[in-house]
Symmetry: C2
Subunit: 374 residues, 2 copies
């Protein structure tokens, strides 16, 4: 763990008994949210930063758990005392999204109407739904307005949606490695991942819990595909190239190349820890994200009530959500005469760059947040 850690943290749980009507018209009568917080909320309750998570992360954003010291929060390099997101100034909040598999109500939770796990009946939850749920949590915690909402990738999409749906409740949005909507190719990758899961014979229409199995093969493949899109071609070549795991080609279907070994390892690890039903739903939330859709595709119109200031960040080698996609966001912000800083970071790592400890990137976030009043 790096210096300036928030140290040992404990996840908390908040119960909500007010029903939520989801964008897809399904209704969840009651639910709980797992969350963590670091730093202290000031007396004015004006120093809160919400960190939104991407596809496979959670509310465990920084620090470690007392009983799992190797389980470091996924954005620990960015968040902590003296770090770019400085927990000595800010109260930082991480929430496991509704539909998740790390403590918040999701497909593996008990559906109170049936007394059984939701499974395949758990509804599709969208970015808009998440913003609504996060806003409810903020209200419970007494936070009327966030100093900033921050996120990368799907997390960045949530930050953007906050400024559209809750313009009075967010002063700054840090939208990192995101896009205003998925391209056909982005959707295509998600669809292959979903097909791998739903066509796994152990999927059982999403009700695999009651069969005491997991659609492991499908999840592995989904994760392997994901990893290809997270890394740039160059980064993969630099890291693995055509290096063999052993010295010779095997002329069979065991592992020849190190990249194969890496993908299989990542696939296996993921299949051990992530819930397939959650994966399916999060990819749908990505596919559906398109705030301009109800404005005839006009993102500028969609953002007409936004009043937040923005930091938009992209990475040169990100081919999942390329800098071009971030510039579409910037254009809509500029056209609405909103304050926006935009940085295109020269980085070789691909989409994963938003999670990396890159000095230029981190200094940029530090400098931006230093100007944010609390």
């Amino acid at each position: 763990m790096s210096q300036g850690s928030v140290g040992i943290v404990k996840p908390k749980m908040m119960q909500f008994d007010e029903p939520i009507e989801l964008q897809g018209r399904a209704r969840i009568d009651s639910y709980q949210l797992a969350y963590e917080s670091y730093g202290e909320l000031n007396a004015e309750r004006s120093n809160a930063i919400l960190v939104c998570h991407a596809l496979n992360a959670s509310h465990h954003v920084a620090g470690i758990y007392a009983d799992q010291t190797e389980n470091v929060g996924w954005w620990d390099n960015l968040i902590g005392p003296g770090k770019p997101v400085d927990t000595e100034r800010f109260f930082v909040l991480g929430v496991n999204n509704l539909g998740g598999c790390h403590g918040s109500t999701g497909p593996s939770s008990i559906d109170p109407r049936t007394g059984k796990q939701w499974g395949g009946d758990f509804p599709v939850v969208t970015v808009e739904d998440w913003v609504e749920v996060q806003a409810r949590l903020a209200s419970r915690l007494g936070i009327d307005q966030f100093a900033a909402v921050v996120g990368g990738s799907l997390g960045g999409m949530q930050a953007l949606q906050w400024t559209i749906d809750q313009p009075e409740r967010v002063r700054n949005a840090l939208v990192i490695a995101a896009a205003p909507k998925l391209s056909a190719q982005n959707i295509a990758f998600n669809e292959v991942a979903r097909t791998a899961i739903t066509s796994d014979p152990e999927f059982h229409g999403g009700n695999y819990y009651e069969h005491d199995v997991v659609p492991r093969r499908g999840l592995r493949i989904a994760r392997m595909i994901g990893h290809i899109t997270y890394l740039s071609d160059d980064a993969m070549d630099a890291k693995f190239g055509r290096n063999l795991r052993e010295d010779v080609l095997k002329f069979n279907f065991d592992i020849d190349f190190q990249i194969e070994s890496y993908l299989r390892y990542q696939g296996d690890k993921f299949a051990d820890t992530f819930d397939a039903n959650t994966y399916l739903r999060i990819t749908k939330a990505l596919d559906y994200f398109d705030p301009a859709a109800s404005y005839g595709g006009d993102l500028t119109a969609a953002m007409k009530n936004s009043k937040s200031d923005y930091l938009v960040v992209s990475f040169t080698s990100d081919w999942r959500f390329s800098p071009e996609r971030s510039r579409e966001l910037v254009k809509a912000m500029v056209e609405n005469r909103l304050n926006v800083s935009y940085a295109e970071i020269e980085a070789p790592h691909g989409h994963d760059a938003f999670l990396m400890n890159d000095a230029i990137y981190h200094n940029l976030i530090r400098a931006y947040l230093e100007r944010v009043s609390t």
Copy 2:
């Protein structure tokens, strides 16, 4: 079918009883090759062109079958009387590669040693092996030297390998949308496809024939992944964008977007017609292709005995084998003072562009072959 078709064609079969020792040290005692030819071999036997196929194609390169008039050869737009590869001048030969599933000996053939289908025991066959086998077929047909060997993608790799392994037997090589070797990302996509197939419960270690099943789910996913890499992001956006199949989002896991429908359709069609064992082996042949490997990575050294003239063609939007990869080939050719023409075609279609009827591309091939003496 377009004008200038070779018309109705018939596949032929050639039996070989001389064993072949494969690069991977396995041995096949006897085998047959399915092939087709169009045009007439001249008296000097000097006007033959070999067309090598890529991942999922076959010896059926041009024309139609009398009993399957919808089954048009895969490069029919390029090859025929008066077409760029003019069958009024050239004798054009297409061969189903060893290990294939369209008539040549492959995993679904009977292994004479056991009397059962080879299945999972069929060896991995490489690009070098294919060149050796194609050369044997040429000898049988009385062709000492090809006027040209032509191929796109994996077919282009075979054309290149011909000029390295059989420099006396090929006067021109047309190497289209190819690369001197796969990148880590290229291998990664292949590995995900293979994992989808081998982890399908109906794969049975490759011996699914005897269980009377097919690893259909795996093949579908393999093909869906393939299609993403064949098309450019822009081409996919132009063709499908975020268009919905029906008018509204469904908030379930049926098909929402047209791109999903397209991929599922392509996956299903492929799973109905292609053999999974062949797919596995062809992706391995791709991964293993690296003529420079035995020269310490020096492609120029690997090509030191080549004497062919070359036409190298790449397509601007091809992200599977980008123009940069073709330029690596050109560099090695130039460094060996070989005659090489190189064209980077402005085309939006991605890797699939090599199969398209693009006027600039086709006129280029026409002009090149018009200069080839017969």
